[in-house]
C-alpha cells in the first residue's frame, strides 16, 4: 500500500449476466479534482458507478480499482464506503421506517467514529444545503421530490466526509435551483476537503455549475476521448456522433446494458 492519494481505475472490465459492459476503463482522480464522464445511453456510465460501489449483480472480470492505495474490489460495499467512497445515486432508494439519523449513526459506529456527533453534523450540513431540520427525522427518501432526494444525497456526502464521490446523473429530475445548491456544495467540498469527484452525466447542464477539470467520453464500454472543459462545449455543439463518429452508436448487444434486461438469461429461443 502506498500513501499516494488517488482513486485509480485501471483496465476495469465488468459484465452483467453474460454481457460485457465495461471493456477496459482507465481513470485517475486526485483529491480536489472533478472529472466528468459523458456518453450516450447504454455506454456503460451507470454500470461504472455500480461496479465501483460493488452492487450485487455486476461482475468484475478484469482490472483494478484502488482508493488511496486500498484495493476496493476486495471490499464489501459497506467497507468501500468506510474507505472513503460515496455513490450519489441517480434514483435514491426509498427506505420506509429508517431515518437519516439512524442510518448515519450506524455508519459512524461501524467506522469507529463517535455516533453522538452525527446529529450536530447533520444540522450543520442541513444548514449549508438549505434543508429544513424537521426533514432530518423523516424516513429516507420517502415521498421526497427529485430535488429533495438529491439534496439528501449531498447531505449524506457531507456528513460522511467521503474522500471520493461518484455522482450518478445527479442532474436528472432536478430543478435548476436544487441543482445549483447541490453542485455548489460539492464544489465547496472539493476546495475545502479535497473531495475528488467523478460526475457521470448525460447532459452538459451539470457542468455549467460543477466545473470539471477533465471530461471523458465513454462509449462501447471504454473511454474514447478525454479533454478539458472545452470538450463539453464541443459535445453540446456537435453531439456524440460529431465527437465520436461511428463509436457513438452502440452495437446491438450492448442495449442489454441494464440488469433487469439481463433477466432473460441465455438465449430464450435456443
Amino acid at each position: 500500500m502506498s500513501d499516494e492519494r488517488v482513486l485509480r481505475i485501471t483496465g476495469l472490465r465488468a459484465r452483467v449476466a453474460e454481457t460485457e459492459i465495461l471493456r477496459g476503463i482507465d481513470l485517475e482522480i486526485r483529491p480536489g479534482e472533478v472529472h466528468a464522464i459523458m456518453g450516450p445511453n447504454g455506454s456503460g456510465k451507470s454500470t461504472l458507478s455500480h461496479v465501483l460501489m460493488g452492487r450485487p449483480g455486476y461482475e468484475v472480470t478484469g482490472g483494478s480499482v484502488t482508493l488511496d492505495g486500498v484495493d476496493l474490489l476486495e471490499l464489501a460495499p459497506w467497507e468501500r464506503a468506510q474507505a472513503g467512497l460515496f455513490l450519489c445515486l441517480q434514483h435514491p432508494t426509498e427506505v420506509p421506517g429508517v431515518s437519516l439519523e439512524a442510518l448515519l449513526t450506524e455508519a459512524a459506529r461501524a467506522g469507529g467514529r463517535d455516533p453522538d456527533t452525527v446529529r450536530q453534523a447533520l444540522i450543520t450540513e442541513a444548514g449549508r444545503l438549505g434543508i429544513d431540520e424537521h426533514f432530518l427525522d423523516r424516513p429516507l427518501n420517502v415521498d421526497l421530490s427529485g430535488g429533495e432526494k438529491k439534496r439528501n444525497e449531498a447531505l449524506q456526502l457531507g456528513v460522511l466526509g467521503a474522500r471520493y464521490a461518484v455522482l450518478d446523473e445527479i442532474d436528472s429530475g432536478l430543478d435548476v435551483d436544487a441543482l445549483a445548491t447541490v453542485a455548489r456544495r460539492i464544489q465547496e467540498a472539493t476546495e475545502e476537503d479535497g473531495l475528488g469527484v467523478l460526475a457521470i452525466t448525460h447532459f452538459a447542464r451539470l457542468l455549467e455549475v460543477l466545473e470539471p477539470d477533465r471530461i471523458h467520453v465513454l462509449s462501447r464500454g471504454s473511454i474514447q476521448v478525454t479533454g478539458g472543459p472545452e470538450l463539453a462545449e464541443q459535445l453540446e455543439a456537435e453531439g456524440y456522433v460529431g465527437v465520436l463518429g461511428d463509436a457513438a452508436t452502440d452495437e446491438p448487444e450492448t442495449l442489454v446494458g441494464l440488469p433487469h434486461a439481463a433477466g432473460f438469461g441465455d438465449d430464450p429461443f435456443a
Partner: protein, 408 residues
C-alpha cells in the same frame, strides 16, 4: 357455571378434534399435537407470574393469572370509585351469565376444552360512560410442566366507555399447552383497546381464540405481538355488529429457530357503514414458519362497508417459510374492500442503499426490519407495550445480526 362446564365437558365427546383438511387448520402443525401428554390444572399453582414494572406503572388494575387460575387482583382506588369491576365470574354479581354471552358456542375443539376446564374465568366490566385513564394489565403465566392451561378473559366495555386491556403471556421453561380465550364486547360508542404480548417459552404450544363484538359507532382495536412459543396460533374473530362500528387488528410476529406462528383472522361486517382495518407484519428467521389466513366477510346487511387487510412477511433465512392467504367474501354491493399480501426477503435495493453509506450488511438488515415493524409498534395502545415490543424485536434482530454476520 358448573352446569355450563359440565355441559361443555359432555359435549366434548361430540366435538371432532381439528383436522388439517379443514381450511381453518390448513398449514397448521395440529397433526403433531399429542393431547395425552398434557393434563388440565387440577389445583391452584404456587407460582407468582413475573410482572413488568413499566406496565404496572400507570395501570388502573393489575391481575396475576397462573395456569388459568386468578392469583391476585389489584384495582386502583380511583378506578373502583369510577365503577370498574374486576373479578372471577364466580365472585361477580351476575357473573355466571358472562361466559358465552359474546361467544355463544366455542369455535373449535380447544374452545370447548377451555369452556370445560377453565378454572376461573376472569371478567373485566367497564360500566357505561366510564373512561379508564390507564390500562388494565393481566399477567397470564404458565408455570407447570405438562399442564394444559385454559385462561379465559371476558371484557365488557359499556356504552360510551373507554378501556385498554393488556395481556402479557409468559411461561416458565416448561412443556405445556395453553388455550386462552378472550370474549369482548364493546357497547354503543365505546372504545376498547386490547393488546397481547405473547412471550411464551420455546416448548409451549398455544391455541388462542379471540372473539370481539363491536357495537354501534364503537371501536375495537386489537393489538398482538407474537414472539414466543413452539407452535403459537391465534384465531381472531372481530365482528362489527352495530352501524358505524370500527375494528382494527394490528400484529407483529417474529419467528426464530423452528417456531411456527399461525394466525387466522375474520373481519366480519354484520352492519352498515362499518370499517375494519387489519395489518399483520412478520419476520421469519432460521427455519421458522408463519401462516396468515384472513377473511373479510361482508354480510348482506353491511352496505357501505370499508375493509382493508394487509399481511407482509420478510424471510430472513432461505429455510424460513411464510404462507399468506387473504380472502374476501362479499354478499352486498357498495363496499370498498382491499387486501394485500407479500412474502419476500429483505429488499436488496434498500439494503444496498444502506450499505453504500457504510453500514455493515447485518446492521442494514436490522435497520430495515426495525423500520418494517415501526408501523405496528406505533399502533400499540399504551407506550409501555410498544416499548416492550421494540425491545423484544431488537433482541431478536441483535441475535440475527450476530448469526448473520457470522455467515457473511
Amino acid at each position: 357455571m358448573c352446569a355450563l362446564r359440565a355441559e361443555a365437558a359432555e359435549g366434548l365427546a361430540d366435538v371432532a378434534p381439528p383436522d388439517v383438511d379443514e381450511e381453518v387448520w390448513r398449514y397448521s402443525r395440529i397433526a403433531e399435537l399429542d393431547l395425552d401428554r398434557f393434563g388440565p390444572s387440577a389445583e391452584r399453582p404456587a407460582t407468582e407470574p413475573p410482572v413488568d414494572a413499566a406496565l404496572v406503572e400507570g395501570a388502573v388494575a393489575t391481575i396475576l393469572v397462573c395456569d388459568g387460575w386468578v392469583q391476585s387482583i389489584q384495582v386502583a382506588e380511583s378506578a373502583v370509585e369510577a365503577g370498574l369491576l374486576i373479578g372471577t365470574v364466580a365472585d361477580l354479581e351476575g357473573g355466571s351469565e358472562f361466559p358465552g354471552a359474546v361467544l355463544e358456542a366455542p369455535v373449535d375443539f380447544f374452545g370447548h376444552l377451555n369452556r370445560a376446564f377453565c378454572p376461573e374465568p376472569l371478567a373485566v366490566v367497564v360500566p357505561d360512560g366510564v373512561r379508564l385513564d390507564g390500562p388494565v394489565v393481566v399477567f397470564s403465566h404458565v408455570a407447570t410442566e405438562g399442564v394444559a392451561a385454559f385462561p379465559r378473559l371476558l371484557v365488557r366495555c359499556g356504552a360510551d366507555a373507554a378501556a385498554t386491556v393488556v395481556e402479557v403471556q409468559t411461561s416458565d421453561d416448561v412443556e405445556a399447552l395453553v388455550a386462552p380465550v378472550l370474549e369482548a364486547v364493546v357497547g354503543r360508542a365505546g372504545r376498547l383497546r386490547h393488546a397481547v404480548l405473547q412471550e411464551l417459552g420455546p416448548r409451549v404450544w398455544q391455541l388462542a381464540h379471540q372473539e370481539v363484538h363491536v357495537g354501534q359507532e364503537a371501536s375495537g382495536e386489537l393489538f398482538h405481538a407474537g414472539l414466543g412459543g413452539d407452535y403459537a396460533r391465534t384465531r381472531t374473530d372481530c365482528r362489527l355488529v352495530g352501524r358505524g362500528a370500527e375494528g382494527r387488528i394490528t400484529a407483529a410476529y417474529f419467528g426464530v429457530g423452528s417456531q411456527a406462528l399461525d394466525y387466522r383472522t375474520f373481519q366480519d361486517h354484520a352492519a352498515p357503514d362499518t370499517v375494519s382495518d387489519l395489518l399483520f407484519k412478520g419476520a421469519l428467521d432460521d427455519s421458522s414458519r408463519s401462516v396468515y389466513t384472513g377473511l373479510i366477510r361482508v354480510r348482506p346487511e353491511a352496505v357501505r362497508t370499508r375493509a382493508n387487510q394487509t399481511n407482509r412477511n420478510i424471510k430472513l433465512s432461505p429455510d424460513a417459510w411464510a404462507e399468506s392467504v387473504p380472502n374476501l367474501e362479499i354478499e352486498t354491493d357498495d363496499v370498498m374492500c382491499s387486501h394485500a399480501s407479500t412474502v419476500s426477503p429483505v429488499d436488496a435495493d434498500q439494503r444496498f442503499y444502506l450499505e453504500s453509506r457504510g453500514v455493515p450488511t447485518a446492521v442494514a438488515e436490522r435497520l430495515l426490519l426495525e423500520g418494517f415493524f415501526e408501523e405496528v409498534v406505533e399502533a400499540a395502545p399504551v407506550p409501555a407495550v410498544g416499548k416492550r415490543l421494540r425491545q423484544s424485536l431488537r433482541a431478536k434482530l441483535d441475535r440475527h445480526e450476530v448469526v448473520g454476520s457470522g455467515a457473511a
